[in-house]
């Protein structure tokens, strides 16, 4: 019996296909391609945190091995055997007890010092930081660039190697802005400001997510951070400042513009140059929506199929959403998609 099991295990382990599949499953699932991985820092803030985590982690591993080892050892050595005599009645040992009070204190002190130092380091406002305001809404993030006069949503575009100071608040409930590869989390609170620093090493795209439970579509309150080279960033800024252009008469896009103007979209969405309103609207500014590759709180990709589903019934994509079902016809939806796609 034993032999047969062994044989089966050997067969299983020697089967290359199974091995590769197992390895692939293991490695793809734990090392690569987790876009929200907090252990793959891509900037100095996240790297500082990462270093501190691993330092604590390895201390914890040592303690883990010692304590679990002692536990296992005790069970193995002192397990009752037929001839075990009654044990010595030891009531305690003050020296030992002092020892295992003081040693943890010292270990913790060695963790505490860098912890406190890092807390203040991370909170400090960096010099020459670029300020961006982040506003939380149920269930999407809005970004305002006060130095550039830009308002956008979902995708936060930043220049690489430049310290960014986010000034954040919430428009409704508590949210939490989290870009794991760039820094830890910070709440967005209604009625007061919170701050978070970001700094990306290289041009890249990072996933972000609302960390604090904020109601029905909390899990779909996602975001992206895109870092660009400084030139590209300036180009992006110039483009963002541009108002939308009127589509050519008679095209599908022109029809789409009419849908936007007449179906009710203007109640909540601004398109600069087409429907300018002073002040804030409750929904994202769509002036450059065509240039954003994720929509709806970064919960779906900007492609005609997904966008059509969203426009046909927003609440089916994001439960609880404030975007109503406008009962658009299929034709209207196609026109609208064409128009929104043209808003680069």
């Amino acid at each position: 019996m034993k032999y047969r099991i062994k044989k089966m295990i050997n067969l299983f382990l020697s089967n290359k296909k199974i091995n590769i599949a197992l390895f692939a499953a293991f490695f793809t699932s734990c090392i690569e391609n987790a876009p929200l991985d907090s252990l793959s820092p891509e900037g100095p803030y996240a790297r500082t945190i990462d270093a501190l985590f691993w330092r604590t982690f390895w201390i914890a591993v040592v303690i883990f091995v010692i304590v679990q080892g002692a536990l296992l050892l005790a069970v193995i050595i002192y397990r009752e055997k037929p001839d075990t005599p009654e044990p010595k009645q030891i009531h305690g040992n003050v020296k030992l007890e002092l020892l295992w009070t003081i040693i943890p204190v010292l270990i913790l002190a060695s963790i505490a010092v860098p912890t406190v130092r890092t807390i203040f380091e991370l909170a400090k406002e960096p010099e020459d930081a670029m300020k961006i305001e982040v506003v939380g809404h149920q269930w999407w993030f809005e970004y305002k660039y006060p130095d550039h006069g830009i308002t956008t949503a979902n995708i936060l575009v930043i220049p690489e190697k430049t310290p960014i100071r986010l000034e954040m608040w919430s428009n409704d409930v508590m949210h939490n802005f989290w870009v794991p590869k760039l820094n830890g989390k910070r709440y967005l609170v209604p009625g007061q400001l919170t701050y978070l620093n970001l700094l990306a090493d290289n041009p890249d795209e990072f996933w972000a997510q609302c960390g604090e439970y904020c109601g029905l579509s909390h899990s779909k309150m996602r975001a992206r951070v895109i870092s660009l080279s400084k030139d590209e960033f300036n180009e992006w800024v110039e483009n963002e400042k541009r108002s939308a252009e009127k589509p050519e008469e008679g095209t599908l896009a022109a029809k789409g513009e009419q849908v936007y103007l007449n179906a009710g979209c203007t109640q909540c969405h601004i398109i600069n140059g087409v429907w300018d309103v002073q002040g804030d609207r409750v929904a994202p500014n769509l002036t450059h929506v065509g240039s954003r590759h994720v929509l709806g709180g970064a919960s779906f990709n900007n492609n005609p199929d997904d966008l059509a589903q969203w426009l046909a019934n927003p609440a089916a994509v994001k439960p609880g959403t404030f975007m109503p079902n406008l009962e658009l016809t299929e034709e209207e939806i196609l026109a609208l998609i064409e128009y929104l796609g043209s808003l680069k």
């Binding site: 699932s29 734990c30 690569e32 391609n33 987790a34 876009p35 929200l36 991985d37 907090s38 252990l39 985590f53 982690f57 304590v67 679990q68 536990l71 005790a74 069970v75 002192y78 397990r79 005599p85 009654e86 044990p87 010595k88 030891i90 009531h91 305690g92 040992n93 030992l96 007890e97 295992w100 204190v105 963790i111 912890t115 406190v116 807390i119 409704d172 409930v173 508590m174 794991p180 830890g184 989390k185 910070r186 709440y187 009625g191 007061q192 996933w207 997510q209 609302c210 960390g211 439970y213 904020c214 109601g215 029905l216 909390h218 899990s219 779909k220 439960p319 609880g320 404030f322 975007m323």
Partner: protein
Amino acid sequence: MNETKSQKELLTIFKRPSSTTGIWSWITTVDHKKIGIMYGYAAFFFLLIGGLEALILRIQLSQPDNNFLSAAEYNAMFTMHGTTMVFLVIMPLSAAFFNYLLPLQIGARDVAFPRLNALSYWLWIFGGIFLYSTFIFGTAGAPQGGYLAEEIGWLGNAPNGGWFGYQPNAAFKYSPGTAMDYWALGLQILGISSLVSAFNFITTILNMRAKGMRFMRMPVFTWMTFAVAFLLAFSLPIIAIALFFVTFDRQFGTTFFLTEGGGDPVLWQHLFWLFGHPEVYILILPAFGIVSEILPTFSRKPLFGYAAIVFAGFGIAFIGFGVWAHHMFASAISPVAQAGFGLSTMVIAVPTGVKIFNWLGTIWGGKLSLKTPMLFSLGFIAMFVIGGLSGVTHSVVPADTQQTDTYYIVAHFHYVLFGGAMFGIFAGLYYWFPKVWGRMYNETLGQLHFWLMLIGFNLTFGPMHWLGLQGQIRRTWVYAEETNLGFWNLIVTIGAFIIAVSILIFMANWIFSKRKGPTAPMDPWDARTIEWTMPSPTPVWNFSTPPEIESLDDFWHRKYDEGSDGRAIRKDTADQLIVQLEEDGLNPKEHIELPNPSYFPFILASGLPFLGYAIIYKSIGLAGLGLVLLLIGGFGWALEPIEEELLEDKKDE
């Protein structure tokens, strides 16, 4: 004389109940043992419900972008899972142990206020029923102005703001409907229940100890009960007031936590966690106590550093009030507060470490009998250490800003509250099974339960550490396929079902052994504390003669001497002693007066749910009904004569 008698008869609506069997004996009982058993069964029932909710959650998360549940249903399920497991499972399971064991361990006939004890139980059960009635009557919906594609079914019409009910998401504007009112008022009732029992236990421990039972001779479980009672007494008023604020905000238009009216939602977080963190120790200290009883018994050695373990328990309880903001490191608090609360959180690891090392010191050099209670206790240490170490990584504030609100935290507190508290509770359930039922459980099934649960537990909560560090947030209804979290989520779901199977084995063992298990001797474990000096099952009157205590681990020292080499030597008289104790225990020498049963705790408690409904539905009628029940209960209680008095009056005639 005659006048007072007729007064008494006039004011006593009912004769005092006298059933000793059947349902009325349970409803009117004031016997701490019966109340303990009722707590146990009802809490276990809620464990099954909370477990079912967990399985439903896990099915939804078993693969990315799943649509087994709607968002509304998922949010209701995780809110009710958390609320249930904290308030309706672990707290009352601990209460089951407090009730059953506390008087036995200190040599008392009952708790100080038996009727108040019954009131605690009935308040709790009515609070639980009230909370769960939300599935029938409650409503939930999208935030005001938001849209839903489909109607919310009954599964989703439950509280959905999380067990932590963060404001303003749990306020009426963002959580309309009545479900969150059920949550706030349900917790309010449950809180009153715990508050009542806290004072009862404190009084009992201070006043009802047997002769010679000095403080430093009390069993550690009694000590931990004492600590928990103080934690309850100081932390529950905080949440009671905060919950009233929530109810006022939702029902009467106040703005305690709403910025629109100058309120502060962060204040709710402070108040909630100022209660919520001591609550964590309310959940874990009883398990510390249970394990501190079991380890010495099954190692045949005294507890290593008894005093240190006791003081460490109180140290944890005390410092537990100064660490609350570590739940808010990513919230709106200053770096100074972050540093302060980070440090205090590290400090609390020290007394916790002392306990762990002293437990290791207890088993080291012992003669370990690896029966089920011992296995669960050893499992408790192993799992709790993991939870404690991940806890230290949270105290490192910058690291915590990555971990907070992710599955890393979910893993951490399940290692503490399931691997810790629940393993401790299971250890206790097996350990005292013979004392409660007079029969032995099945050892094979018990060990099978342990191993399956240990494997299932680690399969469920181990990978969650990894998932959290890989970016899976908590309370997430779906996760995108691109996040690459699917594989380990599937493993976690499989683990959860293994736990479910182990629970079924436990139930089978319990039901079978309670009926058909071999008869248990009085002292099956060769135990140390005085609850084992009574026959099994414990007689109604507990001790037939009040015990006198001469030392810590009194029973052990009556059975064993210490030889010159320090080893235990069984006294020649030990067997004789046990026979004698059993005989005496079954045949009390004189009539023992026990507290009389009463209808009134049940009646009084039954009024509160109606008051709750009255607030939700703004109904004068329901408020009147609730008040009438409260008044009948209260006055009836106050004016209820003790049965003997009536009997004596009758004799006088």
